[in-house]
Amino acid sequence: MAEKQTTKTTYQIPIGPIHPALKEPVMFEFEIDGERIIDVDVQLGHVHRAIEWTGMRRNPIQIIYLAERICGICSFVHPFAFVRAVENACDIEVPERANYLRVVHGELERIASHMLWAGVAAHEIGFDSVLYLTWEMREKVLDLTEILTGNRVTKAILTIGGIRRDITEDLKPKIAETMKYLKDNYKHLAHVYLDDKTFKLRSQNCGILTYEDALKLCAVGPTTRASGVKKDVRVDQPYAAYSDFDMDYMTPDKLTGEVNGDVYDRIITRLLEVKQSIELIEQAVDQLPAGDLVSEPKIPKLLNYIKKTAGEGIGRDEAPRGEVIHYVKFDGEHEEPYTWKVRASTYNNILPWIPMLKGEQIADIPIVAASTDPCMSCTNRVTVIDQNKRYMLDKEQLHKLSVQKTRRLMK
């Protein structure tokens, strides 16, 4: 029996906010046979800025601003998890009004992030006009964010024990207007992604992650919910004010009735989550209780209290990409934490790439990798560029292959 001729080739794939000119290095090493992938090896290209090491030398308020810049898209969830970890470690209470406001900002960021992802996924398939459509919708969400917090991307709205800015009565009509705009355009968006023949052809039965694999590899977020595993920190464990609302896990069988674990299912999961977020924001703004914004407004007093308290705590929350967990340990003598560990959601979603990509065609690599919505800067790595591989297909060629396949299918 003749041995199959396989060639070991390396493809340097850019993952991240993707556009023809953006490069965020991640190295995949594929063993291919013709057009099919036999085996995958992931070598992480990184953006290591030594954030955890730096954090162990600063006081908790400074760490909030450091944590915000771990990633530009998840700039609410990292401070949120850190603040929760500190509150759990030192037993600091959070007023109810602050909890509801945290829900509003968290869900607003989720909508913005899913819109960004939707544009990126459409671009990988080859529909640039859909990229512009979704990003235009995202601009409206960013306008609202700017009115509520002062900035589009890095918000600086959290503090230990509460939140910094309030939503007053005169801001509520603007929130209602943005939600109405999103609801009106939601149907159009769903129609473009779910009913279009080419989207379906490219994404169905492609990049499948089975239920068992998702469970064993500890995948998180929409990647794992699309395979049928019910994991969502907001519904599993009460935090902020999520336990006051009636929520459920968004799995694809809510829309289609069946679960396949392919790219199409991930699109469905994210669209369902956008709808859920819009409803959550409206409910939270309606039911906003009266009260304080912070439990301890004087920061020196707060820092002094943290300095004297020894303890450890974890803070988990649900980012648009999955579960984020921070661990903090105070030793009771310094206000800098003795240990700070950050684990972003993409960390756990890297191993699932391997079973997803085996057996797929090369032209499908961009859409499968983008469907897990990876965020490489969250994962804190160092760039490794390996020079002595045989030949490199860069992102331009990969993107071209992906677009060519779409044009072929459209005929």
Partner: protein, 145 residues
């Protein structure tokens, strides 16, 4: 923007984006500049996929140890005349990452920077303003030849 400029620049500006370890905030605002709201393509500014076709280099991020070499190589691959724009606070001063074991200095210690755009992240309007200033600088350089 075009007032009083020498008409020596024949084509519109092509821009290449290089991420040297940033948090992606600035990169998202660069792509937002292309979208219909800010629509930088109406000026003819286009994002290209290779430094060999580009006139302007946009760099974001505090330069990590590994990216230092890559950033230099990208700069050398670009044809003259060229301009370098450092976008975001990280590339200009280091911002919150001022002390770390894996970062090598603000961008102007590695490459000659022409325009500094500050902000964390800078708004798309500020980025377009920065690119326009680089355009003016390039036009002046072209005219001097």
């Amino acid at each position: 923007m075009a007032k009083g400029l020498p008409k020596s620049f024949k084509k519109a500006l092509w821009v290449y984006n290089c991420n040297s370890g940033s948090c992606n905030g600035c990169d998202i605002e660069i792509i937002a500049a292309l979208c219909p709201r800010y629509d930088v393509e109406r000026f003819g500014i286009k994002l290209v996929g290779s430094p060999r076709h580009a006139d302007v280099l946009l760099i974001t991020g505090p330069v990590t140890r590994q990216q230092a070499d890559r950033v230099k190589r990208v700069y050398e691959q670009m044809p003259d005349p060229k301009a370098v724009i450092a976008i975001g606070n990280c590339g200009n001063t280091g911002d919150v990452f001022y002390e770390s074991y894996n970062l090598v200095g603000p961008i102007n210690e590695i490459l000659p920077v022409d325009v500094h755009v500050i902000g964390c992240p800078p708004r798309p309007e500020a980025i377009i303003n920065g690119v326009a200033k680089a355009w003016t600088k390039l036009e002046t350089l072209e005219a001097k030849k």
